[in-house]
Amino acid sequence: MAAPRSCGLWRYCCRGWSRAAGDCRLPGFHRSWPGATPSARLLSQEKRAAETHFGFETVSEEEKGGKVYQVFESVARKYDVMNDMMSLGIHRAWKDLLIRKMHPLPGTQLLDVAGGTGDIAFRFLSYVQAQHQRKQRRQLRTQQNLSWEEIAKKYQNEEDPLGGSLVTVCDINREMLKVGKQKALDQGHTAGLAWVLGDAEELPFDDNQFDVYTIAFGIRNVTHIDRALQEAHRVLKPGGRFLCLEFSQVNDPLISRLYDLYSFQVIPVIGEVIAGDWKSYQYLVESIRKFPNQEEFKEMIEDAGFQKVTFENLTTGIVAIHSGFKL
């Protein structure tokens, strides 16, 4: 009896908390109120039913989280197949571009939020490994006249092929994480990977911990985007980089028309045929249209405290990579 009640209480507390914080728009809100107890948070709860959008539907903020969870729970198993089908495999190129833009060196600490299926994480690990090998090769070339002792020593010291890099994958959806963990086993990625179930709006990480924060095709599903951006800013080290890959607005009128036709007429059909789930894919398409355009999103990132914010359109703006620094 006590357990469900306390559960409900927690839900009540945090919703009020995140809403209050969102309204305040203070970057260091948590810090400015360190002694906040659950009871204090209860007081901050407002009786206002804030509304947000779930695709083209208008729902209360409380509802949105649950609905998004259902969508991704439902699509998790077919996520990769569907991504390939819907984007004709282009999503792989977009993700590769994100990593190339990041250009992580061995030792980079990455937080990949909403990265349940590990697409960014595995690419990151492969890239870092390749960088490390290249570095070793370069070192060898400069040391041509090694004594046999030095050569033997080189073989004895088994170096970490990642140079201390760690990618932490944080996703709110258990099903997506399950799929990702299984994929990691299948692809043989064991080192340098950590999985955490967590909320982008309330990250369970200490301040100033990561060199890079990525969120790929995830931020439009977050209820309070401003809150997620503030959290990204908090967990990044000074000098750390925020990188976001997300669907954006197509500017070319002709391509926009074709894209709309494809999105609304074809994608839900593919969703129904492949995954047996029309509604989830209709939501995905609608949520893309509801997401702020390149310039608006750039401003939101700046509002969260990031500097040198830029964006780059990929495939005529179907997706965009936004980048910002915590300086």
Binding site: M1, T37, P38, I172, R174, L185, A194, L197, D199
Partner: protein
């Protein structure tokens, strides 16, 4: 005869010294040793990545957490809540956390 005993000894010595690569990684970390033994046998490591303890905090108070090996939970003493670790993934959603009662009497009162 000496060589025969040596031959018998070698695999016995090698056995525990060369666990799988995955388990080896966890063995380096203090505090999770008992779980590393289990993960040696299991195909998938049951425990979470030890490096997480360095920067994982309570999402509500943003304070460090204590790992409790007996219950496999991450505990926030101040707020009295415990975050479960399921299949090696710490569940850091406050709604999923368990509240711990410091006072047993209080618990009895609530149950009745």
């Amino acid at each position: 005869m000496l060589s025969a005993t040596c031959r018998r000894l070698v695999p016995a010595l090698r056995g525990p010294r060369t666990p799988s690569a995955v388990a080896g990684r966890y063995l380096l970390a203090p505090g999770v040793r008992s779980f590393a033994d289990q993960s040696d046998r299991a195909e998938e490591p049951r425990t979470f990545h030890p490096a997480l303890l360095r920067f994982l905090v309570c999402p509500l108070s943003k304070k460090p957490l204590r790992y409790e090996a007996s219950t496999n939970e991450l505990i926030n003493e101040e707020l009295g809540i415990a975050y479960p670790i399921i299949d090696g993934i710490p569940n850091m959603i406050p709604q999923a956390a368990r509240t711990i009662r410091q006072n047993k009497k209080q618990e009895e009162v609530e149950q009745h």
